[in-house]
Symmetry: D2
Subunit: 356 residues, 4 copies
């Protein structure tokens, strides 16, 4: 059954373009936002910011935009309040909550790609990150995982866009958690491409420090662990262990999840549960039995592909794949914006995965 | 000056979709064609063929298409005559001319991605390849390099889509050749990603035989040399030397060309000549002085980026970059089809380069 | 404590060189054997075989050997009985047992790199592979994991060299299994470089099918699962689940193992157990607390690096890294030969890891 | 004809170990020096320096050394005069000449891996780099290209180790230049792996800025151009053009050189000239006709492989390949030290290339 029309009717009048600002536009998530929004039928990117490159045309720094998008970057530290209908914050945590405080006016939609508004419980946030200086906004914010919180996202003015690893892990677990079928501890083994580390001159992200090697990092201390755990804890009392690894490639996260079912189920029955749970979802694709996701088949797209296998004794392995910069960041941010503004949820997100 | 509307008015009525067939759809050029044509406003891909995978859904072999394009593959050897308005032949040379013979009826447009219809002079073809068994069609065919032969392509029914290396080399040289400014022999040093070798189980294309290595191949005997030479010879009596190399990456060709000008010219004057020669071209981007192309900034797009530097003594170096599967193959094939059918030349070719 | 002298006194008279034959020398394990044995003080490689390249000089196929090792390849199918003191079988399973039958004479040492002599219980082998046609030799064979079976390997004439994944998994688990400390099911998440798939022209090993992608394979059906399980079962009644993944790189396996301790132990106490268990082992390196293995730091060496972390509630994660072609194949094969023949166990295995 | 004994008789008494210091030991060239010197029969590395990591064990930063070489790093800025028999300076230019001034005493051998002592003519150096503050030492220094300047290197106390690109280009051209056979301008198209950029946190060396892309850089302004030109000018009045490119891989330089012979020569006759010119050289391998170098076949070794093809009309293409960190830096530095000290020239340099 092919969804021929990928997208739903938009409730938005096409004749009025909305203005978008990308605060911190020259990192990988900012660049990905521009690349996608350029084809959005309702959105014009009218403001891009960078402290490092302020005053320069973005196409002079990134010739890929030459002839297509040649806007001049303005300082991130400028006051951008009231200038846009939607703001994407592509800033480090801490900096982001400060920007949100300045920009929040109950009218513009703010999608924050940092961790600052992902946690309903400020204590969990502060335990994992830093003291929160915009606590008054937390109750206004929504955790932007559309497949679970779509109804809350509609009309929201402040959206905490989920982390890349949590997106892959939570959507991989959600149907079983929701159904209450899981019994054993959950081991989450994630592997991410290097773009997840951002466009910063860090020793550990050098080609020669990544290529032809593979390693775990942040074992037991990665900040995405509490983000995953708090969602798991809403639906069960199970504990997770999360171990991320660095892949010698640019884009893509593959997450392999191990756990145990309360009672053994056939693989196909679990797949049916997944298909049912995600029925109508544009960006979730459940593989058939015996087929498993490959990051190459979601690359540059907003899809999450999920496959799984259960065993006679109740053990189960679930595998999910996303593009960390799309469904794991900028694509999901646009999806959230589309929902919040009542636009076609798939607008500017229909690009097919690209391979090879 | 940003070209906001990238494309020209189409002379084609939008209410009638044309039917396209991709003969040999499961190689990298076939897959790239599907990926791009899926967003074409006037074209429906109604026929995809493969002898290897016949009877299977393409989305079962390549899950990237899951939920989006799930057509069943029919045998390449079937008779496809009269079934489509346009055929893309993604077949090996030799096989391709035979397919063209069967499909050519003076009505459907045939874009051949093999070498079989790139040579006006059959002797050059046969010297480089094999005996030509469809010589009667050669006079009907057009060499599909739109930036040079656009007028001939309009209304053509048989188009020989240029090779990937020749596209990068000829467009890199054309303004200087046309102006008659070159004096010295031309040394063409090309480097290509591995997808240029096709999706065939060959030892030399294995990950472990390519990764972390770099080598020349076909030195002085590569079949793209006569294809470049015949175009150079139309505008000068200069000889080329062509040395291709294999890059440890998927997509992209970068060609570095060395030669000598009859009289020294300033870099900026040569760049001005290039900009003027390619004025109005949608897919040619001339870099500013001091900027050189990078394959990463054309990847997944139909652009060719060109930069150059001339020296006081007349020596000159020209650098061009394309995505070998797009401007070097499937993108250019669609561009040719668009021109031949009187459609918007940029239809389904407006994707921005993707990075990282 | 630096082991300044890496190696033990050899019981072998240095004035007599032993003759080695590599049966199937042009695959990655065969090539790695030659590269290492060339510096062995007691071994001369006097026979290299290949059906594909028979009659050719190996240095003409692999110019890396030019000027250093230019022997002519003889047919694998020739009769090599009685010609060498030690044979390395780098053949597919099935073919290998037949070669072993021909070569076994109770005098020459045979190290089989295939799976044919890894299983004491022929039923497990036949269930995972094919009918065994040399069952009379199974009782003569030893599973060649020196850190566990060194005493049996001494003097052995037929050694089943362990699989690459099993080496990384079993050595990662052994101290805890031996101590009887594990309680919960064992989830083994392994990731391997592409050289593990061998030097065969397979579609799935192409650069463009591997690069910039990451996927699991053989989920629940990989033949290394029973090989790991049979070793685990000797020391416990725990079940393992094994999921291998394909890394976009040449060499290296990283295995992340999740399980639960009977009673919680501090990380450092478990590390002490590991250091004690592997005391005196030349090729096992136990990381300090907070440090985890990276395949890049064992690449081209015979080391296995192991790190781990335990949690307050008893959950534990163990990470091991090897070079799949060295400790996972050819290096371990040489280590086994050295032990079997009474040579210095580290002879020709002292190369440092190479980076970058 | 296989050189069975790769190395020449050493004039050095084996019973006295010489002390070596590596000033700047934690960059890629410093690490490569340690890795190779560890197996040197006459050298002990007794001093390694780093301002960044001073006071730490090198094996704690690079676990590859764990159990094998665990020396503590001392500050680069310390006074190391009179402490070693040989110093390797792995420092930036400028810093290096200052260190050389402090360390030079006419007794210890100094091998400088920076550019500071590569130029006999200080004006060329200062034009390309910075003012030279140790000009009094220039006349004491030797350009360390053993295949050309071996006699001068013997007994030298200050050696300017050649650049990586110049090594590949000069040795590729030398036989033709020396014979006076070249007539036309020389176009040198070089491609280097990323390790050539050093172990510094630079944006342009990030995995995501290098992987899956290919670009030229330093066109017409790279500092290695005058280094190559000054050597070419010693033997001819020809001009070179040098264009380096960045390869998405770790190690290796491939240089493709285009020029024209005064009179046409057959490929085999030129190859014979090369073999004769480099007769007896341990680390130069001339390929047979039709075979061209591949960086993978020199990786991790001190070899330079050279292949070429000449055409009927006198045009010629020469291809050379080296490992930029070995023959292009640290390996050549050791070769220079061996010659300067009268040791076996191949000591600790006999490792075979490693593949894959």
């Amino acid at each position: 059954m092919v969804k021929k029309e990928h997208g739903q009717a938009s409730s938005f009048p096409r004749d009025k373009m909305l203005q978008a600002g990308i605060i911190g536009a020259t990192g990988y998530t900012g660049l990905a936002l521009i690349s996608m929004l350029i084809s959005h039928p309702n959105i014009t990117v009218n403001r891009i910011t960078s402290n490092t490159y302020k005053g320069k045309k973005i196409s002079d720094i990134f010739p890929l935009f030459k002839g297509r998008f040649e806007k001049v970057l303005v300082p991130t530290d400028d006051n951008h309040t009231g200038k846009c209908d939607v703001y994407f914050l592509c800033l480090p945590h801490g900096t982001s909550m400060e920007a949100a405080k300045r920009l929040y006016d109950g009218k513009a939609v703010i999608v924050d790609l940092s961790a600052d508004f992902r946690f309903e419980d400020v204590k969990i946030y502060e335990n994992a990150y830093i003291p929160h200086t915009a606590q008054e906004l937390i109750s206004q914010s929504v955790f932007g995982l559309p497949e679970i919180y779509r109804e809350k996202i509609k009309g929201a003015k402040l959206i905490g866009n989920p982390g890349c690893y949590p997106t892959s892990a939570i959507l991989g677990l959600y149907p079983l958690l929701k159904a209450g079928y899981l019994a054993g501890d959950i081991f989450i083994d994630s592997k991410s491409g290097v773009s997840g580390a951002g466009r910063e001159a860090k020793l550990g992200s050098l080609f020669c420090e990544v290529s032809e090697g593979f390693r775990p990092y942040g074992v037991g201390v990665h900040r995405h662990e509490p983000e995953i755990q708090k969602e798991v804890s809403k639906l069960s009392n199970l504990k997770i262990m999360f171990v991320p690894h660095l892949l010698p490639m640019n884009r893509g996260i593959l997450t392999t999840i191990y756990s145990t079912l309360k009672e053994p189920l056939k693989t196909n029955d679990v797949l049916t549960l997944y298909k049912k749970t995600y029925e109508g979802e544009h960006f979730v694709r459940i593989m058939d039995e015996g087929v498993y996701p490959d990051t190459r088949f979601v690359r540059f797209s907003n899809y999450i592909d999920i496959g799984l296998k259960s065993f006679d004794d109740g053990r189960i392995v679930i595998v999910s794949a996303i593009d960390n910069l799309v469904k794991g960041a900028s694509g999901q941010a646009i999806q959230n914006m589309n929902i919040a503004l009542g636009l076609d949820e798939t607008a500017s997100l229909t690009a097919l995965p690209q391979y090879p």
